[in-house]
C-alpha cells in the first residue's frame, strides 16, 4: 500500500483547497469539503504509564462536586477530543475504556478561564501524552459538537432545553487531527480502543448518546485515508502535485 489518493475524493483537488485556505486565500466556503487526514492505526504506537484516576470516586460524589463548583465558578466547561485513525478503510475513533463497559473520550474539565483549545491540549497530553519527554503535537481541527447538561444529573442533550436558563455543564467535542505517526502512553487503568464507526452508530445503549452520535457528526468531513503523506493523483499534472507536497512538507515541519 504505497500511495493512495483520497478515498472520498470529490471534488478532486479538495486537498489543495485546504492548503489554500491555510494560506489565507479566500475560499467561499472553506468548510464545504473539510478534509481531515486519517492515518492507519498501525502508524501509532501505544505505551503505558501510571494510572490516571478520575477526580470523583463515585457518581454521587461527582454530582456533589459539580454542585459545589457550580456555585463557585458557574457552569462547568468540559472539552473532549475525537481522535480518528483508519483501519480496513473505515474510520475508527479512539476511546478510553474504563472497566469493561464504560467508554469515554479523552478530555476533561477546563480550569476557570482557560482557553478551550489550550485546555484540550493540556488534557490530551495528561491523558495520552508520552512520558519520555517528547512533545505531543495535537492539532485541534474543528468543533464537532456541543452538549449541555441541564441539571446535576446524568442526562446531556445537544441543545439547551427551553426551560433551562443555566445549564450546569457544557461539553464541547473537538476533532483532533493526529500527526502521521505518534507515540501515545495510555494510563494503566484505561484501555485504549479504536472503535469503528459502525460499532458506534445507533448504539447509544452501548456508548451513550454522545459517542454513539459521532458517526453522524463526523460524516460532514471528507476523510482522507492516507497511508503515506504522498498522495499522488495520476489524473492531475504531477508537477503541481509535487508542488503541493512540498508545501505540505513545509507545513508539517512548521507545526
Amino acid at each position: 500500500m504505497t500511495t493512495h489518493s483520497s478515498r472520498t475524493g470529490w471534488p478532486k483537488g479538495a486537498n489543495p483547497m485546504s492548503y489554500a485556505a491555510k494560506y489565507g486565500i479566500t475560499n467561499p466556503s472553506p468548510t464545504l469539503d473539510r478534509p481531515i487526514n486519517l492515518y492507519p492505526l498501525t502508524n501509532y504506537t501505544f505505551g503505558t504509564k501510571e494510572p490516571l484516576y478520575e477526580k470523583d470516586s463515585s457518581v454521587p460524589a461527582r454530582f456533589q462536586r459539580m454542585r459545589d463548583e457550580f456555585e463557585k465558578i458557574g457552569m462547568r466547561r468540559s472539552v473532549e477530543g475525537v481522535l480518528i485513525v483508519h483501519e480496513h478503510g473505515l474510520p475508527h475513533v479512539l476511546l478510553l475504556q474504563l472497566g469493561t463497559t464504560f467508554f469515554k473520550l479523552p478530555g476533561g474539565e477546563l480550569n476557570s478561564r482557560e482557553d478551550q483549545v489550550e485546555g484540550l491540549k493540556r488534557l490530551l497530553t495528561e491523558t495520552l501524552g508520552r512520558q519520555d519527554g517528547g512533545t505531543m503535537e495535537w492539532v485541534v481541527e474543528d468543533t464537532i459538537g456541543n452538549w449541555w447538561r441541564p441539571n446535576f444529573e446524568p442526562p446531556q442533550y445537544p441543545y439547551i432545553p427551553a426551560h433551562i436558563t443555566k445549564p450546569k455543564e457544557h461539553k464541547r467535542l473537538f476533532l483532533v487531527q493526529l500527526p502521521e505517526k505518534a507515540l501515545f502512553a495510555v494510563p494503566r487503568n484505561y484501555k485504549l480502543v479504536a472503535a469503528p464507526l459502525f460499532e458506534l452508530y445507533d448504539n447509544s445503549a452501548g456508548y451513550g448518546p454522545i459517542i454513539s452520535s459521532l458517526p453522524q457528526a463526523l460524516s460532514r468531513y471528507e476523510l482522507l485515508f492516507s497511508s503515506l503523506v504522498w498522495r499522488i493523483d495520476y489524473s492531475r499534472p504531477l508537477s503541481i502535485q509535487m508542488l503541493w507536497f512540498a508545501v505540505e512538507i513545509v507545513q508539517i515541519s512548521q507545526r
Binding site: F102, E153, P154, Y207
Partner: protein, 546 residues
C-alpha cells in the same frame, strides 16, 4: 446496554419528588454503571445566579449554598408551558413577594430534556408557601396560569398525566385533524392544531389565504399576545419554510396558546380550521425539512408532556390549544417527510401526537414529525380499526399466538398418536383443537382460519389412515395434498400464504417422518382423485380466505 443492567433510578427520592418517569437507563452516562447507583442527594440547587433581581439575596452569586439547612417547604407548580424557564418562575415569585426561594427543579422528559411543564418549588417558610398558593395563580406566565399544589403523589400523578395527555389524544387528534373531517372532540383538535400549523407553514405563502378565513374571531384574540408574525395571517408568509421556521415554531404556537384562551374552545374552532388546512395539506408538504424526524418517533417513547389542555381540571389552558389556529401560519414547518409516512402507519401515528401537536400542546416536542394530511387518512383508519372491535391489537396477537400454539401442539400430538396407531385419540386431539380455535374471539380472522384448515387437513389425513390399510399411500396422498395446497397458496396473497405454507410444511414434515416409502403407482390413481378433491377444497379455502 452496557453496564450491569442496573436500572438506576436517581429519582426515587420522593421527598424531592424527582420521579422522572423512572426512565433512567444510564445510557447517557455509563459512568454510573461503573460506579454505583446513587441517590441524587439533596438538591439544594440554587437558582438565583448573579441575578441582581433575585428576590432572596442581594449578592449576585449563589444564594443558597449546598449546605442549606433551613426549612424546606415544597410545592408543585404546574400547568406551565415547556418553555417557561426557571428564571421566569423566579421572576414570578419575586413579583409576588416570595423572598426565601430555595430551589426550583423542573420535571423533564428524560429522552429529550423537554420540560413537562411542572416543577417543584422549594421555599423556606410557610408564609412564602401561602403567598404562592394565593398569588401565583393570578399571574400568567407565558399566557398560562400556574397551578399550585402540595407535594403529594396524587398531584404528581395528575401533573404527569396532564403532561402525557397530549400524546394519546394527540394521536387521534392529529389524525383527526389531518383527516380534516374527524373533529371528534374539541380537545382533540388541539394537537391537530399543531399539525395544521405545522403543515401550513411550509406552504407558508399559500396559507395566508385560507387561514384567515378560518378563525378570524379566534385570530383576533390571539393577536394581542404580541408575537408580531402572529398578528395576522400575512405575516406568516415570512416564515421561510424549512429550518428557520422551526425555531420560530414554538413561539408562534405559543402565542396562539396564550392568546385566546378561554373563549375559544371546542368544535367550532375546529371546523373552520378543518377545511382550510386541507387544501394546504394536499399540497405536497413541500419542504418537509425534517425527514429525520420521521424515524425518531422511536426514541420518544415518553411523549412530551402533552399538557393536553382539554381538560380535566384545567379550565384555562385547554382552549388556547384548540384555537391555535390555522390562522397562525407561524406554525412550524412540517417536520415530516411524507415519504416516512406510509411505512410507518403504526409508528408515526403515535409519534405524531408527540410531534406535531408539539407546538400547540405546549409539552409536545415541537420538532417531531408532522404527517402530511394525505397520509393522515391512512393512519387514522388503521388505528381506529383495531380499536373499534374492542379487541386491541395486542390482545389479538395474544389470542392468535395461543391458537397457534394450540394448533401446532395438537397436530404434533395427533401425528404421534396416529403413527403409534392410536387414531382415536389423535382425532380427538385435533377435533378439540379445532373447536378451541373456532371458539376464540378471533376465529373469523384469516390466520385463524388457516390454523383451523391445517388442523382439519391433518384430521382428514388421520381419519383416512385409520380407515384404510394403505397407510403409505395415504401418507403420500396427504403429502401431495399439502404440496398442492402449498402450490395453490402460492398464488394467494402474502401473509396468509406464508403462514399457511408454514403450517403445511410443518405438518408435511411431520408426515414425512412417519411416511413409508410407497410405490407411487398404486397411489397415483388415488392421488388423481385426491387432487381433484383437494383442488375443490383449495377453492373452498380460498373463497373463505378472500
Amino acid at each position: 446496554m452496557a453496564g450491569d443492567g442496573v436500572d438506576i433510578d436517581l429519582y426515587d427520592n420522593l421527598e424531592e419528588g424527582f420521579d422522572q418517569d423512572n426512565e433512567f437507563n444510564a445510557e447517557d452516562d455509563l459512568y454510573n454503571d461503573v460506579i454505583t447507583a446513587p441517590s441524587s442527594g439533596d438538591n439544594t440547587e440554587v437558582q438565583q445566579q448573579s441575578e441582581p433581581n433575585t428576590p432572596t439575596k442581594t449578592t449576585p452569586s449563589v444564594t443558597v449554598p449546598s449546605g442549606y439547612t433551613g426549612r424546606r417547604i415544597s410545592l408543585y407548580v404546574g400547568n406551565l408551558t415547556w418553555w417557561t424557564t426557571d428564571q421566569d418562575l423566579i421572576d414570578g415569585l419575586a413579583a409576588i413577594g416570595v423572598t426565601d426561594l430555595v430551589e426550583i427543579k423542573f420535571y423533564e422528559n428524560r429522552a429529550n430534556g423537554q420540560s413537562k411543564g411542572f416543577a417543584v418549588v422549594v421555599v423556606g417558610s410557610d408564609n412564602s408557601s401561602r403567598l404562592i398558593f394565593e398569588k401565583l395563580p393570578k399571574k400568567e406566565i407565558h399566557g398560562q396560569v400556574p397551578q399550585i399544589s402540595n407535594c403529594n403523589r396524587q398531584a404528581l400523578s395528575q401533573f404527569e398525566a396532564q403532561a402525557r395527555k397530549g400524546e394519546p389524544p394527540a394521536q387521534n387528534g392529529n389524525t383527526n385533524k389531518s383527516s380534516h373531517q374527524r373533529n371528534h372532540s374539541p380537545p382533540r383538535t388541539t394537537p391537530k392544531q399543531g399539525f395544521v400549523n405545522r403543515q401550513q407553514r411550509p406552504s407558508g405563502p399559500v396559507v395566508t389565504g385560507p387561514p384567515p378565513t378560518g378563525p378570524p374571531p379566534t385570530g383576533a384574540p390571539m393577536m394581542p399576545v404580541g408575537m408580531p408574525p402572529v398578528s395576522g395571517p400575512p405575516p406568516q408568509v415570512q416564515f421561510p419554510p424549512g429550518f428557520p421556521p422551526r425555531t420560530l415554531g414554538p413561539p408562534p404556537p405559543a402565542v396562539m396558546m396564550r392568546g385566546p384562551p378561554p373563549p375559544i374552545r371546542g368544535p367550532p374552532p375546529a371546523d373552520p380550521r378543518g377545511p382550510p388546512p386541507r387544501p394546504e395539506w394536499d399540497r405536497p408538504p413541500g419542504p418537509a425539512p425534517y425527514p429525520p424526524l420521521g424515524p425518531p418517533p422511536g426514541p420518544q417513547p415518553v411523549p412530551p408532556p402533552g399538557a393536553r389542555p382539554p381538560g380535566p381540571g384545567i379550565p384555562h389552558q385547554q382552549p388556547p390549544m384548540t384555537i391555535p389556529p390555522p390562522g397562525h401560519p407561524p406554525a412550524p414547518a412540517p417536520h415530516v417527510n411524507p415519504a416516512f409516512f406510509p411505512p410507518q402507519h403504526g409508528g408515526p401515528p403515535p409519534t405524531m401526537p408527540h410531534a406535531a401537536p408539539g407546538h400547540h400542546d405546549p409539552y409536545r416536542a415541537p420538532p417531531p414529525v408532522s404527517y402530511p394530511s394525505d397520509h393522515y387518512s391512512r393512519p387514522p383508519t388503521e388505528r381506529v380499526e383495531p380499536q373499534s372491535p374492542a379487541l386491541s391489537e395486542q390482545e389479538f396477537e395474544e389470542i392468535f399466538q395461543r391458537n397457534k400454539t394450540v394448533s401446532s401442539s395438537a397436530i404434533s400430538r395427533a401425528v404421534q398418536d396416529a403413527s403409534a396407531g392410536e387414531f382415536a385419540s389423535a382425532i380427538e386431539t385435533l377435533v378439540t383443537a379445532i373447536s378451541l380455535i373456532k371458539q376464540s374471539k378471533i376465529a373469523s380472522d384469516d390466520r385463524c382460519k388457516i390454523l383451523i384448515s391445517s388442523l382439519q387437513d391433518t384430521l382428514h389425513g388421520i381419519e383416512e389412515k385409520s380407515y384404510g390399510s394403505k397407510s403409505s399411500s395415504r401418507r403420500s396422498r396427504s403429502r401431495e395434498r399439502d404440496r398442492e395446497r402449498k402450490e395453490r397458496s402460492r398464488s394467494h396473497r402474502s401473509r396468509s400464504r406464508d403462514r399457511e405454507r408454514e403450517y403445511r410444511e410443518r405438518s408435511r414434515e411431520r408426515d414425512r417422518h412417519y411416511e413409508a416409502e410407497s410405490g407411487s403407482s398404486s397411489s397415483r390413481s388415488h392421488r388423481d382423485r385426491d387432487r381433484d378433491r383437494d383442488r375443490e377444497r383449495e377453492r373452498e379455502y380460498s373463497s373463505r380466505r378472500h
